[in-house]
């Protein structure tokens, strides 16, 4: 098995973790990243749920592990095609660069839902409507939240399910991580601006993690975050740049209008653009949501419908950081079994 070569597409946390596990097992591993550095979308993130830890530490420890285990990391290289070459695979990248491998791991990640599609929420039109991703970027860069007028917001509405569970935008699935992200961001705002009122507009709070509900409790009890059960129908900018929002408080059965200084849209996860490119050219099957399909969702989660091509992380479905890392390890295990069973 030691002479086998695995190409890992995508240098986010899934790709890095899987690559280092495989390399430590003695396999030759090439980690191919389209950008100039590894870490993927986590590089823009300020704090992780549910423990408010820094993703920078995680990314740098993964980078150290990857390097120390002997993974060959290639940057600025985007794979556009995977082809079978005998028993091996030939991977084609930009500028005619080619890689050869005995197995391929697709860890090409996800796309963030483009909130401008949900035009009625005014993202891209109104300066005080931002996304959860913008929030993290701003916090990381400036360490504070300000309106477009430069003031500290006194009222913020956090909108759940933007681009998720919504047939109108073509995404009927739940992105799973947004609910807890909203609660995390609500707490951060409240800690940063104790006088700021924070409202979460939700349909169902899907707090699946073992410690997520206690964060919800903390948000209500200690931070007085208000949770209103109703989805936003639309947002409009007022003359003073504040945002008027409309929803129904479904627990009271009454329509509700409210003016807030800022709106944060909890944008969901979509199948990645890089993944889509690979799918089209390699007859890899996707599931009903457009993510990569596993041959068995219980016991072969990381096996694609093409033998020898595996997948890890959010290319499979929306998942949190801890799940992504676990999933990457599981992918590495499946690849090792593949070599043990099929390629003596």
């Amino acid at each position: 098995m030691n002479n086998k070569h695995v190409a890992v597409i995508g240098g986010g946390i899934a790709g890095m973790e899987a690559a280092s596990v495989l390399a430590r097992q003695g396999l030759k591993v090439t980690l191919i990243e389209k950008q100039a550095n590894t870490g993927g979308k986590l590089n823009d993130w300020d704090h992780l749920f549910p423990d408010f830890s820094s993703p920078d530490e995680l990314v740098s420890s993964l980078a150290t592990k990857t390097k120390d285990s002997g993974v060959n990391t290639v940057y600025n290289t985007e794979i556009s095609r995977i082809e079978r070459a005998g028993k091996r695979f030939e991977l084609r990248a930009n500028q005619d660069v080619r890689f050869y491998a005995d197995a391929v791991l697709v860890a090409s990640g996800f796309n963030v839902f483009d909130a401008t599609i949900k035009e009625e929420y005014g993202y891209g039109l109104f300066g005080n409507v931002i996304t959860s991703v913008d929030f993290e970027k701003r916090m990381k860069k400036h360490g504070q939240l300000r309106t477009i007028q430069g003031t500290a917001p006194k009222r913020v509405a956090i909108i759940h399910c933007v681009g998720s569970r919504d047939a109108k935008v073509g995404n009927t699935y739940c992105s799973k991580v947004c609910c807890i992200t909203g609660i995390k961001q609500a707490i951060e705002i409240s800690e940063m601006l104790p006088d700021c009122e924070v409202f979460c507009f939700y349909m169902d709070l899907r707090l699946y993690g073992s410690t997520f509900d206690s964060l919800y409790l903390q948000a209500q009890k200690r931070h007085k975050i208000q949770f209103i059960r109703g989805r936003l129908s639309e947002a409009a900018e007022r003359a003073d740049k504040s945002i008027q929002i409309k929803a129904e408080d479904t627990l009271q059965g009454r329509p509700l209008r409210m003016t807030v200084d800022m709106v944060i849209l909890l944008v969901g996860m979509e199948p990645g653009a890089s993944t889509s490119q690979l799918i089209q050219k390699n007859q890899m099957t996707v599931d009903e949501n457009g993510f990569l399909k596993s041959t068995n969702m219980h016991c072969a989660r990381n096996q694609s419908t093409q033998e020898g091509i595996f997948m890890a992380g959010t290319a499979i479905c929306p998942m949190a950081v801890n799940e992504t890392i676990e999933n990457a390890r599981s992918a590495a295990t499946e690849i090792i079994h593949f070599f043990e069973n099929h390629r003596p």
């Binding site: 009625e120 047939a167 129908s233 639309e234 929803a247 129904e248 479904t250 059965g253 329509p255 509700l256």
Partner: protein, 231 residues
């Protein structure tokens, strides 16, 4: 009193289009202009129909709420499950008319006035609302400006280049007898006329029930109309 309400609702193709499955998010109520003014919640109507509870559906047919919808269909544009409460309302309204449930509520009883005004106008003039039909005495809500326009109708419409009641093209032109005849046939074939008759039939029953009768004991629809206008 009613039977097979669920089956009768489902027989209407608009229900299939209007109700896939509601997840109670409230976007329809949030966008609904009527919900801002009335005790009206399209979400709960969708949920009631989805539940299939015949008793509750009967209460909807007999109540005021289904008549608050303005059929603007804003709900259709926003529902994340591609439902359309406005269409569900259309189906409920038709069933309320067909079963006579509409005479049990104040808003429902107004159906009679609508048949006699808009319903009659469309067949008589080819317009739902025709300037001649908006008599200031019975439409005080139109105010003094409308009264002035009404009194100077031909001059005003001529001044805006309309062709009021005239032959040939132009706004508010006279609709030809051939076209009116065709319109009449459409109402006949599509069941529209029958629905008019059904509404009149149940309204007459209501008039008798209320003692609004002539010397022969038959429904006096003049009195009933006056009652509805003041109700």
């Amino acid at each position: 009193m009613y039977s097979d309400l669920n089956q009768r609702l489902k027989a209407d193709v608009r229900l299939e289009e209007g109700l896939q499955a509601c997840m109670n998010c409230g976007i329809c109520t949030a966008i609904c202009p009527a919900a801002e003014f009335y005790e009206y919640d399209p979400r709960s109507i969708a949920i009631t129909v989805q539940s299939g509870n015949e008793e509750k559906i009967a209460a909807l047919l007999e109540g005021d709420t289904i008549w608050y919808c303005g059929q603007c269909m804003s709900c259709k544009t926003r529902c994340p499950r591609n439902n359309c409460p406005g269409l569900i309302i259309s189906v409920l309204r038709k069933l309320s008319q067909e079963t006579g449930a509409f005479i049990k509520s104040r808003m429902g009883r107004q159906q009679y006035l609508i048949v006699k005004t808009i319903g009659a106008n469309i067949l008589r003039f080819g317009y739902c609302v025709h300037p001649n039909s908006l008599v200031p005495a019975t439409h005080p809500e139109q105010g003094p400006v409308w009264r002035w326009i009404y009194e100077n109708m031909h001059e005003v419409y001529a001044a805006v280049d309309a062709n009021l009641d005239g032959d040939g093209p132009g706004a508010m032109r006279k609709i030809s007898p051939t076209d009116l005849d065709e319109l009449h046939q459409i109402f006949e074939v599509s069941g529209g006329l029958k629905l008019y008759q059904t509404i009149e039939y149940f309204s007459q029953l209501k008039a008798v029930e209320m003692g609004l009768t002539d010397t022969n004991g038959k429904a006096d629809m003049e009195k009933y109309t006056q009652y509805l206008l003041n109700e």
